[in-house]
Amino acid sequence: MAVMASLWVVLAVVAVSLVQGGESNGVEDIVPHVYAPSWMYKCVPDEGCQRTEHPQPTTTNVTQMVFTSLDICRTVCGRFGGLWPRPVTAALSMQTVKIHPNYVRFDLEKVPVEARELVAEMTHVVGANLLAECGGEVTEMVETPVVVYINVKSSNLSLTWDTNEQYMLDVQTKEDQISVYAGADTVYGARHALETFTQLVAADRPDFSDEKKCGLHLVSGAKIRDRPVYKYRGLLLDSSRHFIPMEDVKRTIDGMAANKMNVFHWHVTDSHSFPLESSRVPQFTRYGAYSAKEIYSVEEVRELIKYAQVRGVRVVIEIDAPAHAGNGWQWGKEYGFGDLAVCVNEYPWRNLCIEPPCGQLNPANPAMYRVLKDLYRDIAETLPQPALLHMGGDEVFFGCWNSSEEITNYMQQQKYEISVDGFVALWSEFHEKALDAWDEQMQAIGGTKQPVMLWSSELTKANRIQNHLSKDRYVIEVWEPVGSPLLTQLLRMGYRVVSVPKDIWYLDHGFWGNTKYSNWRKMYAHRLPQDDNVLGGEVAMWSEYLDEQALDTRVWPRAAAVAERLWSDPSGGVYVAEPRMQRQRARLLARGLRPDAISPAWCSQHDTKCF
């Protein structure tokens, strides 16, 4: 025990280092003060936070149920305060206590040595998020010590869908000392506890005020027990139809972390462009990127993966194949490899693909598989282990393959008919070879066979899938609309699935064709079947009509609605959730995202009055 004591480590994270020029500065107010008083907010049972009838001077005695800021009111009002996603159980005090990030310390004694560096980085994020509540500067100084005791049992740092994300969080205030206990099996559970801790803090500055004075308040007592309902809570981002700069991708990860989402499904390539740098095959980006500036370098991808890990998010890379591959694959002939892909950029496109530009890998060309192996090797080396690869596999157009003599000749050699069945066989053969290639590369780096993900398609139809895809190796991502029976059929056959019903959880709908926009309420209301083989679900941000300019507003706060659905699967309706949703939107805004507005600000200041 004495030896243990010598290992006593306290990592104090002094968040003030994040403040720039913390001293009071001489900058004059840009906004002239029109008047002094401001609104107060009452926590009214069953009605939530209500703005007072008249602005009151902030100096009036604040009674228990009246608060100077909407954020503080939300933090204590209602059973789950301002927490998003909703925890399993929570008991929150209605009192708050003033704190300052400078006096928040994190005690990592009970974190296994191997995990301390990672947990320390997680605490840095907490520091930054606390400051963000005050717009970067907490001017109200209090010296009340806050010690966050972090307890992690396991030293395993891998993040998979078997990772235990459960946590507990207690806040206790005794005289002049605040103790916070954050306990979990894994570092990722502990991270969730820290996120929840951050959500127990709010700024007292009147909402949207440009006043410089700002202090932080922490709920003085809390007891929270929490764990997710679904293991896979994802967000898909397509960076091929438009390139999305790395800083915007990272900001999206910030948003996911705020909502305890844990899978960043990166649809990084498609027929339009190939922005992912491959060290073994530099031609991919040279021929496939929109420009030299629109490339994700190997270094940047590694950094992103680390960035995501600190935020409890696993990066899953998708290399969509054999369809949705074109630009980036068109250099084969020049290098003496023959056609690696066929019908690339061909038109008229209607008979060759689902949307321009067309392109499909050439399964008749062995060189194509060699190039694919090299790409897989790069990815296997980059992804966190155990690596999860999404192999795409959607929307294969037989007309495209049929337009290539090389392929139809190959089919005849293989004794495949030139018919739907023949093309299905060819497609199936592709997946078999691709999976072998992936397994081989995983083995080469010392890994083991891992399940891979695949989109639902003609190949995954109930009457076909069992002849082609093993349920032990493939997790099927079902994107059929809610009305489709496929999800239940696959579950009945024992397949593991991830669900993303396109008519509800596709974030690009409502801006093209006959698609309909789903608001956050509709997204929230959708429930998945409760079945161990439903790993979870995700929202999908396809980028035909979007680049980094509109990214935030299209994704947030709607993705947050699905995040709560997947984390807590609450049975209460959307209206019960709305005040917390308003708080989450404000939180995302404070953290530098640009979430869409969900109502007039008046409704946010008068809970339940706009229903």
């Binding site: 390139f243 929109y290 507005a597 109502s599 600000a601 008046w602």
Partner: protein, 595 residues
């Protein structure tokens, strides 16, 4: 067609400056074939002159990269010249009362050119100098009006081996400013050579079809920062829109500083920081003036009032529940027209507006008045009975008219002139009886029903001047989820830019086209605030801008490539515009069509 082939040929000769030079070479080049820019590999060994994407687009289309397309003659020649954008000299040929505006417009022109350079790049500082001659026939005019002269001609010619001349002729500052805007669109950054290029031989004659080309922003349902409003006006100027219609108040909040009745904003704003002070408004108005954008205030009444009026006793059914009974959305609220002191209040608000807006038009709102709301007040009922009116629909119209007459008299007094008043279409403006209430000489009607509403032809036949904001094409808040209740919002679906572009006021008005002053896109802000403003407005408002400037006969397909470019230009100006198509479609013209 032979002309186009000629273009291609000469272009290759012309852009000798496009010789590649060994250092970091873009792997792609573009060539104009059959009116489309075709993307091809750029062989670094190749010493032939090659075109970057924007240089190709400039000549591959009769309107180049110009947006909105000019309405008169356009000749862009066949040549691009390297220019040194550090050597731009702007000269005023004639001086007058608008000198300060012209100088500021000149500075804005220089800023705009700089936005064409990608972040983190310094183009080579070689090439020709540019002298811009601003020749304004009436340099004393600086006031907005519905008949201001916005036309201009623009010529660019080589002056010597190292100098180019650009000359803009106009009849007013407004035309001059438009000419500068066009000139800025003729300068591109070449990423193959890291150089700025300008079209060398230009002759353009241009003027707008409609005098009123606007965007409405509602700053009551949600607040918008001053910076975001300025960014909007800046973008409007870039596409030659000329009216920022400021729906500044509504029942939700009263964010405008009223020095005469300070209680209105003190208790009407969402928070102390969410007030537009008079100096802020003045700043915005001035910002607009330099950009040829009038800032038009709306004070919506007698409905759409509420927050801010709590202590006056001048409203009825404020926050009444169930709200659906008394108004179209919560919170309810309507002015009580029977109170004499109401009109003193209104005059003070109008005077506060007159202090800072310096406007040639005034919008008095006048939409969605609820009979039930007024009818819920005993005081109003008594007033009507005293006047020997019934309590039926036509009597409430009389009451409304009573209000409008008294309020407009106060507005004329406050603004010191009988300025044209704009009102929304409503039950008061139904063509069957509108002339009993509103004189077409005094009133302009802003249409917000659909483009096929028979009211439109009815109003035109009675001689009313109209501004088109038909919601089926110009309400930019449509298509999102409802914020009250389930499903999507009332005017769903989302309106794509193509529909905005094809919404022709002339087609709607037919024989009475001359009575159409123009059109306006509206952003009602129940579900938008500073964070989302840009994406809702842009680039769709640019589609409206070309429709109103040019009334093009050709359909949107012919404008598509230029539209994709104007979107890129807006982004470079710092506008977070929506994207319309994959970047691939911008780089590969003619592939992304519906088969």
């Amino acid at each position: 067609m032979w002309l186009q082939r000629f273009f291609i040929y000469t272009l290759y000769l012309a852009v000798l400056l496009c010789a590649t030079n060994g250092e970091e070479v873009s792997p792609w080049r573009w060539a104009c074939e059959d009116g489309k820019c075709v993307k091809t590999r750029n062989d670094p060994q190749n010493k032939e002159p090659v075109l970057c994407l924007e240089a190709c687009k400039m000549f591959c289309n009769e309107n180049g990269l110009l947006w909105p397309r000019p309405t008169g003659q356009v000749d862009l020649g066949n040549f691009l010249s390297k220019i040194n954008i550090n050597h731009i000299d702007i000269k005023l040929v004639r001086e007058g009362r608008s000198d300060d505006l012209m100088r500021k417009a000149g500075n804005r022109f220089k800023d705009l050119i700089n936005t064409a350079i990608p972040r983190g790049i310094t183009p080579k500082a070689t090439g020709k100098s540019l002298i811009v001659h601003l020749d304004n026939e009436h340099p004393d005019i600086r006031e907005f009006s519905l008949d201001m002269d916005e036309s201009y001609t623009l010529r660019v010619t080589p002056a010597s081996s190292d100098t180019l001349n650009a000359t803009i002729n106009s009849g007013s500052f407004f035309g001059l400013r438009n000419g500068l805007e066009t000139l800025s669109q003729l300068i591109v950054y070449d990423d193959i050579r890291n150089h700025m290029l300008i079209v060398r031989d230009v002759s353009i004659k241009d003027k707008p079809v409609y005098p009123y080309r606007g965007i409405l922003l509602d700053t009551s349902r949600n607040y918008f920062s001053v910076d975001s409003i300025k960014a909007t006006i800046n973008a409007m100027a870039a596409v030659k829109l000329n009216t920022f219609h400021w729906h500044i108040t509504d029942s939700h909040s009263f964010p405008m500083e009223s020095t005469r009745r300070p209680h209105l904003h003190k208790i009407g704003a969402y928070s102390p920081a969410k007030v537009y002070t008079k100096s802020m408004i003045q700043d915005i108005v001035e910002f607009g003036a330099v950009r040829g954008v009038r800032v038009l205030p709306e004070f919506d009444a007698p409905a759409h009032v509420g927050e801010g009026w709590q202590d006056t006793g001048l409203t009825v059914c404020f926050k009444a529940e169930p709200w659906a009974h008394f108004c179209v959305e919560p919170p309810c609220g309507q002015l009580n027209p029977t109170k004499e002191e109401l009109y003193d209040h209104l005059e003070d608000i109008y005077r506060d507006m007159a202090d800072v807006f310096n406007t040639d038009l005034f919008h008095m709102g006048g939409d969605e008045v609820s009979e039930r709301c007024w009818n819920s007040s005993e005081e109003i009922q008594n007033f009507m009975i005293q006047n020997r009116w019934d309590l039926d629909k036509s009597s409430f119209l009389k009451l409304w008219n009573y209000f409008q007459k008294k309020a407009s008299d106060r507005a004329y007094k406050a603004f010191g002139k009988k300025l044209p008043i704009i009102l929304w279409t409503s039950t008061l403006t139904e063509f069957s009886h509108v002339d009993n209430f509103l004189d077409p000489k005094d009133y302009i009607i802003q249409v917000w029903t659909t483009g096929v509403d028979p009211q439109i032809s009815g109003l035109l036949e009675k001689g009313y001047r109209l501004i088109m904001s038909n919601y089926d094409a110009l309400y930019f808040d449509c298509g999102y989820g409802a914020w009250v209740g389930d499903g999507n919002n009332w005017c769903s679906p989302y309106i794509g830019w193509q529909k905005v572009y094809m919404n022709s006021p002339a087609d709607i008005a037919k024989a009475h086209k001359d009575l159409i002053l123009g059109g306006e896109a509206a952003l009602w802000s129940e579900q938008a605030d500073t964070a989302t403003l840009d994406g809702r407005l842009w680039p769709r408002a640019a589609a409206l801008a070309e429709r109103l400037w040019a009334e093009p006969r050709a359909s949107w397909e012919h404008a598509e490539q230029r539209m994709l470019h104007v979107r890129e230009r807006l982004v470079r100006m710092g506008i977070q515009a929506e994207s319309l198509e994959p970047e691939w479609c911008y780089q590969n013209e003619g592939y992304c069509y519906r088969g």
